[in-house]
Structures are given as structure tokens and as C-alpha cells.
């Protein structure tokens, strides 16, 4: 039930975000979604991609520092309050959300939330117990391909 997320270290300077994006584009690797955490001095580019292993190899070969972490993807109704129930479940389980980001899925009118939890297994158990729709990697990649068409 966990999704692989590829993180890349960037200096917070003009042009630095373009480098990994160009490397991935040249390699023909599609990015499903991304988020950028930035501070005054540095940034962390977090990517969800189907070909995450290949992407990591290529970025590392270009001298970039990367890390693979496991995140949890949840499908939510794309309407007011869709996220609220979800957060209540996570909160009640005592699991901490390190960060989260979202992208919408136009074909089904739903949104996908990506969570980085401090205790992913416990979080997943709580979400499944509450009947939340968790996406495994295959489902997520399929959904992303559908959304592209």
C-alpha cells in the first residue's frame, strides 16, 4: 500500500529546479506529480514517478543527491470536506503527518492525497479500518495514465 517517492536535494537558486526536470525529460521519464519544499537556503523536490528506480539512477549519475521514501496515497472525493474525514482518522490513530500534498484526477472527479507519515504501517491500518480508499502503486500509475489522456 506504499508508494515510492523520489526526493532530490536542490540549492535554492535560480535554475536549479530545471536541472533534474531536464534530466528526466531527456530520459523520457514522466512525472506523475511533484511538490517542492523550499527554505531560504535549500529545497527538496519530491517526485512521484512510475519509473522511480530508473529516475534515481539517472539523477545520481548526474551527481544529484536523491533519496527514496515510502508515502501513502489516498483517493478522496473532490468536494468540500473530502479531506476532513481523512485527517480525522489519521489524527485519531496518533500518527503524525510529516507533510502532505495533493493532485486532482480529472477522469474520476476525485483527488489524490499523498501523505508522508511518521508511522506508515499504523496509519495505513487506521485508514483501511475506516474504509478509506488507499491506492497501491499500480492503481496510482494507472490512474495517472488515465488522467493524461
Amino acid at each position: 500500500m506504499k508508494i515510492h517517492q523520489l526526493s532530490v536535494f536542490l540549492e535554492n537558486q535560480p535554475g536549479h529546479l530545471a536541472t533534474p526536470c531536464a534530466i528526466l525529460a531527456d530520459a523520457g521519464i514522466n512525472i506523475i506529480t511533484l511538490t517542492l519544499a523550499d527554505t531560504q537556503r535549500f529545497g527538496i523536490l519530491r517526485l512521484i514517478l512510475q519509473e522511480w528506480e530508473k529516475a534515481q539512477q539517472i539523477l545520481a549519475a548526474h551527481g544529484l543527491i536523491t533519496k527514496i521514501t515510502e508515502v501513502v496515497a489516498v483517493q478522496v472525493e473532490d468536494r468540500p470536506g473530502g479531506l476532513r474525514t481523512l485527517l480525522e482518522v489519521v489524527e485519531a490513530s496518533g500518527v503524525n503527518i510529516e507533510y502532505m500534498y495533493a493532485f486532482t484526477d480529472r477522469t474520476e472527479g476525485k483527488g489524490v492525497m499523498v501523505f508522508r507519515l511518521d508511522d506508515a504501517d499504523k496509519g495505513i491500518a487506521a485508514l483501511l479500518h475506516a474504509g478509506v480508499c488507499l491506492l497501491n502503486s499500480e492503481e496510482l500509475y494507472k490512474l495517472a495514465q488515465g488522467g493524461k489522456q
Binding site: 536535494f9 527554505t39 535549500f42 527538496i44 551527481g63 543527491i65 533519496k67 521514501t69
Partner: protein, 448 residues
Amino acid sequence: MSFQWNDCNGSFHPDSAMDFLPEGQLRALQLQRLRSTVERAYGNVELVRARMDGLGLKPSDIRTLDDIHRLPFMVKNDLRDTYPYGLFACPLSEVVRLHASSGTTGKPIVVGYTQNDMDTWGNVVMRALASTGMHRGDIIQIAFGYGLFTGGLGLHGGAEALGAAVIPISGGNSDRQIMVLRDFGVTAFACTPSYFIHLIEHAASMGVNLKELPLRVGVFGAEPWSEEMRCYIQRETNIRAFDIYGLSEIIGPGVGVECNCQNGIHIFEDHFLFEILDPETGVPLPDGEDGELVITTLSKEAMPIIRYRTHDITHVIAEPCACGRSLRRIARISRRSDDMLIIRGVNVFPSQIEAALLKVEKTLPHYQIIVRRDGDMDDMEIRIEVTAELFSDRVSEIERITKRLSHAVESTTGIHAKIRLVEPHTIERSEGKAKRVLDLRKLDTPKP
């Protein structure tokens, strides 16, 4: 006298006997050689004669070893001012070798050797390698620069004298360094410590595990390095890393070396007389107290050097060494009086920063210190190349690590430093001596 010899792994080399000379004999030999050196310099070197005459000193005034304190100093600029041959004490026809500095900080300095000087040099380097446990049968890869720099050829002569198989690969070309290291069955490696740290990283990127190779001994020198760097090298490679000390002005590498005990540098006192002085006043300091190392050559013919100010800061370790050598030890040199940074009025040495960074878990020493002036305040920033170990997908985690680094620097130096993680390979790599400091204050134009 009873004779104790504790170097493991080595077969005793007959020339190492001089390392164990009884104290009384050693001092008598030093005095005899000091007097002939002063006589030679006074008789043949204009600069020395003029300075001694200025002090009303004659060579015959040197009657005891303590009389050395009456002699005038020599400094690096003396070698520049007399460029190229002004300090030679013999005709050029007797000189068989010339070396020179790169001259990046001014006019180069030139040093010359007679055949006897070459033999002396080979002898001290050979004894230095023997004290690290090296012996005939060892295969040594010498990655110090060959050419005008004394590092490469200095190690070369000593390693040959020892009977080791020498690979004169010189510096640079890291791919080839690792290939040779892996394929030639190399057992000993000589280069600057910063270059070896670069090679550790490079070997890993090539998928070569240095721990699995027969490599056993590292002989590192030509720049100050810290105990933390030694621990890092030894941990990552399973070799033993030894500090070899020397400077071209005196002879090149081989002025002193660590023995198997790795606790201080034995100076080859039969050829070099050293003093530890207060760098400000020139007054001799008691054993154990930090001061400037000042060296006099005792057997050099082509270029006798008297009381040379090395700018290296160290102290005498008075206790006898467990290896049994009678040669006195100095603490490893981790700082120089001329690489001291004064930041907000506080003395800071790059080596302190290095030690602090290495104390924080898993930090590789690819860093650069940048000092700026912001208004009237000095500002110190330390750029550190991010590694897979330092990196995290969480901002809080990265900030926690930079705080730890910053705290370690502040608790060692007393100065707050901004830590800035930068992308890999953005700090200039050192194939030779490390350039760790960028002091941009010197470039500031004074305010109107």
C-alpha cells in the same frame, strides 16, 4: 643500553639504528653537526654572514646546543629575496638536484641538493617509511606530485632505498589511481590526506571496496590534517594512516614521521635540530606548550638552513615513546600561525572547524569556509556538500542536522557559523593541497 623495538609488521632496517641512538650520543652528534653547519653557512652564504656579523657573532661562539638561540632566524622571504641560488653554500657544480615551489604566492623558492644531501634525504625518508611498518616487498603507490615539488621524488628515493616496489604514478587522474591500486596489489599509498579522502569517495563511486584490497599503510603529509581525518580514513579503508612531516626549505618530506604508536611525530634529530618558540617573542617554550616550530638543518651541504621559521604550531611530547626511539616527538601539526583566521576578534583555525564537522556523525570533509564582512561584522559561512547520509526528504530533519553542525562549530571555535548545504561537486576538488578557506574580506574596498 637495552634496545627495544616495537614496530610490528616490519623487518628491522639497519639504518633505523640511528632512530635509537642513546640521548647523550645524539646530542653530541647534533652539536658537532650544528657547529660545522654554522661554519659552512657563515663561510659561504652572504645573508647568514651579514646577519651574524650584525649581531657580533662568530661560528666559534656556538659552543653548546643552547647557543643556537643566539643565532639569527631565517624566513621564507629570505629564500625569495635570494632567488634562485643566493643561499647555496657550495658551487653549482656540486649540486645534483634542484626543486622549487610553485610560486603561487609570489616568487618561487629554489632548493638545491648535493649528492650527500640526496643520500641524507633518501636515508630519512627510508627510516620514515620503516617506522610506519613498511619493508622490502611492499608495493607503494606514490600519488604526491612528481616534478619540482619535493613530495613525489622525495618519497620515491626513500621507498627505493627501503627496497619497496615503487609505482611513481604522481597526482591526479583518480580513475587510474583506483585501477592501479586495485590491480597492482598495492600495500602502501602516499599522497596528501585530502586527496586520499577524495580517492576513498572515488573508489566507492567506481564500486571498489578499499577494505578488500591488500592496502595496509597510508603515508600522508604536505598539509595539516586532524585526528578525526585519520579516524575517518582508517575506518573507511582498514589501513593505518601515518603522518609524514617535512618542508622543501628543510629537505622535503622526511623531516619527521609517526611511528607505529601513532602518537606524535619523531623528528630525525640526527639531521634536524628543532626548537619550539613563542611565535611573537621568539622565546623558547617549555615542553608541552604550543609554539612555532623552528628548524635548523644539521647535515645539509648545498643549502644549510639555520633557525627556519616554519609557521607550524606544535609542542614537544616529552615522555619517551613506547616504540623505543630516542628521537623526540612533536605533536602532529594541525594548524599554522599563518592560516589562522581572525573572526570577530577570535582566533579560528580551519583545522578546528574540520574537527568539529567530523565529530558530527557521518559527515565527510568536503567543505569550504567563507568569511565575509557584513557592515562591521565578520560573517562565517561553512558550505558543506550534501551527501546521501545528510539528505532527507524532510525539511525538519535537514535543519536538525545543520543545527548540529553549527552547534559543533560554535562549541569548538566560539564563533557562530551559518551552515549551508550545497549540491555535490560544487566545491572545488583538491588534487593536491586543500583550499578550504575563502576569505572575501581581503577583497573588500575600504569604506569612504
